[in-house]
Subunit: 349 residues, 2 copies
């Protein structure tokens, strides 16, 4: 099982946790009240498959409820998809979130990687990817868009080529859009009726509520029905389901979030690029990938933790190694602390 | 998927829901405060596998943490067990909760039933069960103890014979003790080191918190390790995990609950037995099984709902039919309303 998911050490209340990619603002303030008002409802079972929340969400996204499935976080749906499709061969675009591989591996799938090139800033060379697909003939291609941890967003035009190819092969495309709300980029949601695509979404990250577990998946009614057939009952808790409507009303919260994220990313990129021993990958999302040019990040992690700062080292990502780390974009004061600490530590070496 | 889990109709706030087997008192009052105090923590991921909560619970039960696994409600663990063991053949003691069958069926298992006899008040004839096991040679036997919906508790002495038999066959016994806290009966927990047993427990029912999803499983370190190997990450939400310690401190709450449940069960049994068209099965647990001697319960359900009372009809339980219904034991005033309504409806017929 994944060993990550934030800092859980002894200094829990002091440590600035840059290791998890959550909204830097936290969750919308008035969500407190919604939760307090709804506490009494925990005495009832949640709806078995979150029917009401699904209808609300579908309406919000201009979809039919049959094109949507609720999940106990996005992670339930990664495993549910793998179990529903049970593909023989899966091609995962790497480096990326490692739960995809675990989910398909548990189903006994043959897992293959398409590893994007650092020298191309981890962007997908679509011709190479298509060639790989032609050779491997996978039943499922997994793409995280924008990608965790590289931040790379693959344009619709490129993905379109991938969709056509997988349709020709009668395969599926699994696209994780968990971080798309932190970008101004287009979702693939408009393709669900024409292509065999399943889109994963998270409400955990943009609304700052990872503790409460809330995700959903989008696809054709056919794909969603396949998943529903084997979905386990009562996986979403009642608080998560009751938050769907109030969260969707928080449009200003998202606009405000993205203003901050953009501004802070610019700040972090320009400051971190001044550190000569550091290589910085600035693209989409509320996080950034960095690389130490000539040393192991383990020591850096240790030194930062002494200063109450926690980062995500990336040695367990396929295609990366122990010179990479990922950091979330947080509020200005917090980011400043990180920049200062990195400068002191890396420039003294 | 299961279609039950309580009343979700239009009259949600008026209807007395006797269909779900939850603590009649609700949840301990001061849990409100605990939840309110912890709302801020939903901005963090829960621990991936609920490590801290597991340690607290293990200590409370005098177990090692390695003998315990946390679940998103008990239902996650039913499916996880089925997926881990992937038995060829499963014998389910029926009538019982129907998620066991679904979980094993999804793994492609051959499902067989041992149906207890109404004429024996649905008690297990252990010699017959052992004979059936000798014939069928199942890899897993599933027993709910006390059983939902019959309320039958099978004594340790009888279960011991079953345990010996399944050990001889190198099989497993899956025992659901979700309702044991509503009895003064013995758990099988002391057998986990000597027998291939997995015990399912729920904190949802006794503490009145089905909305928040909290269950756990107990077994030898070997069995628990098998489950952990394929367990999905972050399935338990942070509120559920944070409630474990404060809930375990509520010993008076459980004592008080069981005083009420006992007293009310006696009241309900004696009153309902006065209705000549009704057959009443009074045994363990916070619920009772009833049978209409000569008619379909559908009409009764309809008539009760007109009076804002909702019951669980049992036509979907193997070994029962459309003459059975199950009712939870609620508070005295509520039970009186049910008794009065049943008397009026059934005695006017």
């Amino acid at each position: 099982m994944n060993k990550h998911g934030g800092y859980f050490g002894e200094k829990k209340d002091e440590v600035l946790d840059f290791s998890i990619n959550i909204n830097p603002i936290g969750f919308p303030n008035d969500i407190y009240e919604v939760i307090m008002r709804n506490i009494k409802n925990i005495v009832r079972y949640p709806e078995i498959n979150g029917k009401t929340a699904r209808e609300i969400l579908a309406k919000h996204l201009s979809l039919a409820p049959e094109q949507l499935i609720m999940g106990n976080g996005a992670s339930e749906l990664i495993y549910l998809f793998a179990r529903s499709i049970k593909p023989e061969r899966v091609l995962i675009v790497q480096p990326t979130f490692n739960e995809y591989e675990r989910a398909f591996r548990l189903e006994g799938c043959d897992i293959q990687y398409f590893i994007t090139d650092k020298n191309n800033d981890f962007k997908i060379d679509i011709n190479k990817l298509i060639n790989t697909i032609d050779t491997i003939k996978p039943n499922v291609v997994v793409l995280c868009n924008p990608n965790n941890p590289t931040g790379i967003y693959t344009d619709i035009e490129k993905v379109h080529i991938l969709l056509d190819k997988m349709k020709d092969l009668s395969g599926h495309i699994f696209v994780d859009e968990s971080f798309i709300d932190f970008t101004f980029k287009k979702s693939l949601v408009t393709f669900i009726d024409k292509y065999p695509i399943f889109i994963l979404r998270s409400m955990t990250k943009i609304y700052g509520i990872p503790g409460i577990r809330l995700g959903y998946g989008i696809g054709s009614a056919n794909i969603i029905e396949m998943l529903n057939k084997i979905k386990e009952p009562w996986t979403m808790n009642s608080m998560a389901l009751e938050l769907v409507q109030p969260l969707l009303e928080k449009k200003d919260f998202i606009v405000n979030t993205n203003k901050i994220v953009q501004k802070e990313k610019e700040y972090l990129c320009s400051e971190l690029k001044k550190i000569s021993s550091l290589e910085v990958f600035c693209d989409q999302g509320n996080f950034m990938l960095c690389r130490l040019k000539s040393s192991d990040v383990k020591l850096l992690k240790k030194k930062l933790l002494k200063r109450n700062i926690y980062i995500r080292t990336c040695e367990d990502f396929i295609g990366l190694d122990n010179s990479y780390f990922r950091m979330a974009i947080k509020l200005h004061e917090e980011n400043e602390k990180l920049v200062d600490a990195l400068k002191i530590i890396l420039e003294e070496e």
